[in-house]
Assembly symmetry: C2
Homo-oligomer: 139 residues x 2
DNA sequence: TTCTCATTTTACTAAATAAGAAAATAGGAT
DNA sequence: ATCCTATTTTCTTATTTAGTAAAATGAGAA
């Protein structure tokens, strides 16, 4: 496939778009993205690989954690594609909800987040009270 | 699916991108697009339906022929997506070749083109001599 | 080293998609 | 009206893709 269709194909899955949107303005580790989206870590990893192979995300290893982010020096095509995402992804209600949930996830240390996932817990997402979203690291 | 992923999905197939690129600056009838791309007319029709349902193309019926074109008053999302296509689709060699072949197809009346397809002929595409591309209606 | 753990890869199943053939539709032409 | 034909839809088959579970990888901790 040519670069254009490789990129549009990577963008054509709702879950992949959510993952990309989550990494647009901030570096995210995989455990944060697993917490955000209700899929197995294997599925998340594969979706991230599709986005990375398309050039829409880059990965950085830091110890045991892998962080994903949009490339700092994208090609013109990637840059324009990311602009399209930035300008229109927020129209999706799911992604708006993701942004709120990400503020909750950000409040938790990756170390604690990983432990919670290991032990089967999850971030509360039912009552979205932004006032208390800056606290929440303790379980 | 949300509008964004509907659009990116429509753009994620190489043949659909070729069809859209062919209709970017000019109205095209289905018989011209069938001549351009080596697929059955049923497949072409289905790909065009995907592009139309995504809002990237509009169809207009004129007698027995159906013409496809990009919408004159697109939504902001569609407009930006089409801008992305206009700026980057030409990077693909196949689409560059399509543009050359379309000049040959343009030289043929739709009536003659349909008859050629009916009788199993096709437009010569091996030797691309642009000097003689303005003639060619007779078979 | 050995253990632990975050992430990725592999193996496999189920659902989605692309493709052509053939039937159906729609709009002249006779 | 009937015939002809450009396009679409239906049906079926083959390929691709998304998903999970389990194994493998790789990097810190003990």
């Amino acid at each position: 496939m040519n670069p254009f269709t490789t990129i549009t194909h990577a963008l054509s899955d709702p879950n992949r778009l959510r993952l990309l949107a989550a990494c647009l303005d901030q570096e995210r580790c995989v455990c944060q993205l697993v917490e955000l989206i209700d899929l197995s870590n294997a599925s998340i990893s594969k979706h991230l690989a599709v986005l990375r192979n398309a050039g829409l995300l880059e990965s950085r290893k830091e110890g045991r954690w892998v962080h994903y982010q949009t490339p700092p020096t994208p090609t013109p095509l990637i840059s324009d594609a990311l602009t399209l995402v930035r300008q229109h992804a927020l129209d999706d209600e799911q992604i708006q909800a993701d942004i709120i949930k990400l503020t909750q996830i950000d409040a938790i240390e990756p170390h604690d987040l990983a432990r919670m996932q290991r032990e089967g817990c999850c971030v509360q997402t039912d009552s979205v009270n932004t006032t208390s979203s800056t606290q929440g690291a303790s379980i």
